[in-house]
């Protein structure tokens, strides 16, 4: 079975400094992989590399078996890839509706998809014409996730979507993601520091340290302790 996402020895960086060193990993269709690790270790950079915001110096990126290493960022969406960046993830001056519209390639199925959005996060459909910048932090994160899911992606890359969220919202998010995976077979790569959230959701985990995967395995009872060791201050 072809992996939804496959990285083979990927190395990349900024200017002359490498940040990702020969990373290899695989995500099967419908699988959720948690990417954990301390700050500044390169997790966000890895996501940016998959999208080609950072040039790949070495190695290959494959989506559904297709080599997309050299594809520019805007072509990734057509491949069924959705991305929720950690910073500057919304157009603050556009309305909630317009931000959601931009999650789809065109407006044809927008109204139909809105029904899905109201099922996930009713608060968003109640505020469609509000400027995204006026939403609370939690609502903004919900909008980011909704925008990613609205196109029914095959692969959803998420960078710290629970940052600054209340526990109740975190739970809701976990529900929505789990349901989406179950009903639509969406594979997910979740970069997170919030361990309880991500371990409750993911099938497998990988620990990222200084640009490399230093530990990986299926999520089970012992995973939390294992990860803790790596996260120790």
């Amino acid at each position: 079975m072809t992996a939804a996402l496959e990285l083979i020895g990927v190395t990349s960086g900024y200017g002359s400094s490498p940040v990702v060193h020969g990373v290899s990993l695989q995500i099967a269709p419908g699988e959720i992989l948690a990417l954990v690790g301390k700050n500044g270790m390169g997790k966000s950079s890895l996501l940016k590399t998959i999208l080609a915001f950072l040039p790949v110096w070495d190695g290959a990126v494959r989506i559904d078996g297709r080599d997309v290493t050299r594809f520019p960022p805007h072509r990734k969406r057509a491949l069924g890839l959705a991305y929720a960046p950690q910073e500057q993830a919304l157009f603050q001056d556009l309305s909630v509706r317009d931000n959601l519209r931009l999650g789809l390639a065109d407006d044809r199925s927008f109204e139909a998809r809105l029904a899905d959005v109201s099922g996930w996060f009713p608060v968003l459909t109640a505020r469609l014409s509000q400027r995204a910048g006026t939403l609370s932090g939690g609502e903004q994160k919900m909008l980011i996730v909704a925008r990613g899911l609205i196109a029914e992606p095959r692969l959803f890359l998420m960078d710290e979507v629970t940052e600054g969220l209340q526990p109740s919202v975190v739970d809701r998010l976990a529900d929505v993601l789990a349901t989406t995976r179950r009903e639509r077979g969406t594979a997910m790569l979740v970069v997170e520091q919030h361990l309880p959230f991500v371990l409750g959701l993911a099938d497998r985990f990988a620990v990222f340290k200084r640009g490399e995967v230093v530990d990986a395995g299926p999520v089970d009872a012992g995973s939390a302790a294992r990860i803790d060791e790596h996260m120790r201050l």
């Binding site: 999208l51 960022p73 805007h74 990734k76 500057q88 919304l90 317009d98 931009l102």
Partner: protein, 278 residues
């Protein structure tokens, strides 16, 4: 008094039409298109050709838009595209392009000054004075252009993509928007608009290969001051254009021509990012 007011309003309208294309390019692509002047010239000559071929004068702006848009898109593809990371060099390269286009126009049409008859001549009695009808009609023309652009930007999918690229190009790319194509279309439209301006102002001024230059600096300063907002551009055209008319009338026409450049330079010193968010 009334004449003065009408002068101010019509001057503002003309400035707006000339500067709008430059603003659109600057807002989306963050570079200044110094070839703008030569596209004004292209538009004027396109209008000339249209009248020579016997086309109704109403069609002249559309012919100009087509000519300017196509040439503009071609130059984006070949030249401008490589300079996005070097904005100062982009100014220089577009200036060079302007020279090239201007010289090509001269080669084809010769250096003499030409005249294009105004499609609508005569005066209108407005508020008790007789005023050039053509000049007055430029005011609704400016409003139509502004309206078309607002409509395009806010009402269409392309407009949404363009606004996204303006606000955050990386994010837009991550959402699947081909920002390269958006830039191409924007540059083409900006140059087309310059050509339309050229076509519209030909009846007011003579047509010669260097006519666009006089407008370039004023338009450039107005765009810098307005910081990327169409609305602020309109206001700047009104305020600075009005001050220019007043200076020309009460002080001297030559120094009046300096008003926009000098006041805009001072304004930018106080607020370098322009006044879009004032």
């Amino acid at each position: 008094m009334i004449t003065l007011a009408l002068d101010i309003i019509t001057t503002a309208a003309i400035l707006f039409i000339v500067a709008a294309g430059l603003l659109i390019v600057f807002g989306v692509m963050k570079i200044v298109n110094f070839a703008h002047a030569s596209f004004i010239t292209v538009g004027a000559y396109a209008a000339l050709m249209a009248s020579r071929f016997g086309l109704p004068p109403v069609l002249a702006p559309f012919v100009a838009f087509l000519a300017g848009g196509l040439i503009g898109a071609a130059t984006e593809r070949v030249v401008v595209r490589r300079l996005y990371r070097r904005p100062l060099d982009a100014i220089l390269a577009t200036w060079g392009l302007g020279i090239v286009i201007g010289q090509l126009v001269t080669l084809v049409f010769g250096r003499e000054v030409q005249f294009v008859p105004a499609p609508i001549s005569g005066t209108l009695e407005a508020f008790g004075v007789d005023y050039s009808l053509y000049r007055l009609l430029l005011v609704p023309a400016a409003l139509v252009i502004a309206g078309l652009f607002a409509g395009l930007l806010n009402g269409t999918r392309l407009g949404l993509s363009t606004r996204a690229v303006i606000m955050n190009e990386n994010l837009a790319q991550g959402l699947g928007i081909d920002s390269t194509r958006v830039r191409l279309i924007t540059f083409g439209i900006g140059c087309g608009l310059a050509a339309v301006a050229g076509a519209l102002i030909t009846p007011l001024a003579s047509v010669d290969p260097n006519m666009g230059l006089a407008w370039l600096i004023g338009a450039f300063m107005l765009v810098m001051v307005s910081g990327g907002s169409l609305l602020t551009l309109g206001l700047s055209c009104f305020v600075l254009g009005g001050l220019q008319v007043l200076a020309s009338t009460f002080i001297s026409p030559i120094l009046g021509g300096l008003t926009i450049a000098v006041l805009a330079a001072v304004a930018l010193r106080l607020r370098p990012q322009g006044f879009a968010r004032a």
